[in-house]
Amino acid sequence: MSRTLTLVGLESSCDDTAAAVVRLADGRVRVLSSVVVGQSALHAPFGGVVPEIAARAHVEILDHCIERAMAEAGVGFANLDGVVVTAGPGLIGGVLSGVMFAKGIAAARGLPLIGVNHLAGHALTPRLTDDVGFPYLMLLVSGGHCQFLIVHDHDHFERIGGTIDDAPGEAFDKIARLIGLSQPGGPAVDRAALSGDAKRFDLPRPLLDRPGCDMSFSGLKTAMLRARDAVIAANGGLSQQDQADLSASFQEAMADVLEEKSRRALDLYLALSPAEPVFAIAGGVAANSRIRAVLEQLCREKGTRFLAPPLALCTDNAAMIANAGIARMVAGQVDDMTLSARPRWPLDQTAPAQLGSGKKGAKA
């Protein structure tokens, strides 16, 4: 028997406000609409996302996004079977706004409320876009996260490695600011690197000399600062070529680290003998052309399908949240009105804490 479910999803855990309507029918999930309103312009002057500014924006944008998503999907409240919302991890002010919006709608319409983990949203996107079978290997690489996951089921994620400090997307933003490129940093560095010499600056490849899939990027940022300062000390500023060469050298170091760590993650994953091996990547950094090329080549070597969902479903969006909500709802995993917003919420609750501790708990 096949069940039809239509859910609205809300996402507000970082600097994108998003709403989407997805439908499960005949065993497949389809995205009926997906609206994302970014806040880049609000945060650009500060060189990074400012949590309070993000929270202020979310609370006044969310309902407009929901209305647009429902109109574009041609769906009214009477057609909905549930409300899904990112309940963490993320910037708490934004997550909290989303959760309270979702509670309001769910209460008003008597609809089930489903809180999902933002990272599960990303990690389950290959199921939405390509109907990939379990288990598959996932690299989640964004402004806030960097981890390798073996996805065994919609609620069973095995973390086999990740960053022990900064996330690559955050490093791209910092680097861009350091060398005078625009925000967001990822696309700016990618563009500048096209005409750059990746060998001009000798940057470290952190943790490559150590076994396992863990990564570190804070030392790389420091090395970039030194390389930049050396050029400025010599010439009194940066030329466009310096910017390009610094971008290319940084991007190459990042790609080298991700390639080697992905190779090790793939070895661990392939040891499970998956029937149709898949390595999927998600998060904003998945859009980087150099990193993507390197990982594609690696997958060819390893006889594994490389999967990068379309960018709109790779970066933060609410379709992935609604999709994860469908999996939870089908499994009978529904929340109530006491649902909490969680700033930290590791996907793999069994792996030892890798990042963060104390009162707030592990970040990853």
Partner: protein
């Protein structure tokens, strides 16, 4: 059928979850004090208030919500819930400032409404016969920073900083005549026929954010 209009107002702008269910002339009040956990507590508490009158969400004609000034996160909890409810119910959500709500029913000629803004500051707004006569603002809790009111107006002051403000200004402290959340419900009720904008938080204090200190590099052309 519940008496008309049926308005549910709530507020989490300080260390509480407060609700007022206005049913015609009658009001049902509930305030649960709490320093944290409002996001988890609010909706079940509101459902209990409704159930206590044998009502469900769809019996409401409007939502009233406290938009601050107050705790930023607390304001957002209520405003987000109110906007979600309004969207789902297809009924208006009406935002009422906490400075305005707490002077509801007070007909003084010159009344200053004040609230603790922490860090040695205070939120203030002047009212005449219950209606605002100045914009809400945040200022230092000093004689110089507080609004300059003509002495012959014999101003009164109310709110959680009324005694402190009174010591500095000589304005006469007076007690509110109803709880803040009842004030939200009654103000919302009086605006039921207006074309109300969606409730938006009234922060009065800018987000704590500073541009990066290290300047960008010089780009040679």
């Amino acid at each position: 059928m519940p008496p008309k209009p049926a308005i549910l107002a709530f507020d989490t702008s300080a260390a509480h979850c407060a609700a007022a269910l206005l049913l015609g002339d009658r009001v049902v009040l509930r305030t649960d004090e709490m320093a944290k956990g409002q996001a988890e507590h609010l909706m079940p508490m509101l459902a209990e208030v409704l159930a206590g009158e044998g009502m469900v969400w769809t019996d409401l004609d409007a939502i009233g919500v406290g938009i601050g000034p107050g705790n930023f996160t607390g304001i957002r909890i209520s405003v987000a819930a109110a906007r979600g409810l309004a969207l789902g119910l297809g009924k208006p959500a009406i935002g009422v400032s906490t400075l305005e709500a707490q002077v509801t029913g007070m007909g003084h000629n010159m009344l200053v409404s004040c609230l603790d803004a922490r860090r040695g500051m205070v939120y203030v707004q002047e009212f005449g016969r219950g209606q605002p006569v100045s914009k809400p603002l945040i200022c230092d809790l000093t004689q110089d920073a507080l609004p300059d009111l003509p002495g012959k107006a014999e101003p009164c002051v109310t709110g959680d900083m009324a005694d402190e403000v009174s010591r500095l200004t000589g304005w006469q402290p007076v007690a509110p005549v109803m709880s803040m959340v009842e004030g939200i419900a009654r103000r919302a009720s009086s605006r039921l026929d207006n074309d109300n904008p969606r409730p938006a938080p009234l922060y009065l204090r800018s987000a704590d954010a500073a541009p990066p200190r290290d300047p960008p590099p010089v780009i040679l052309s």
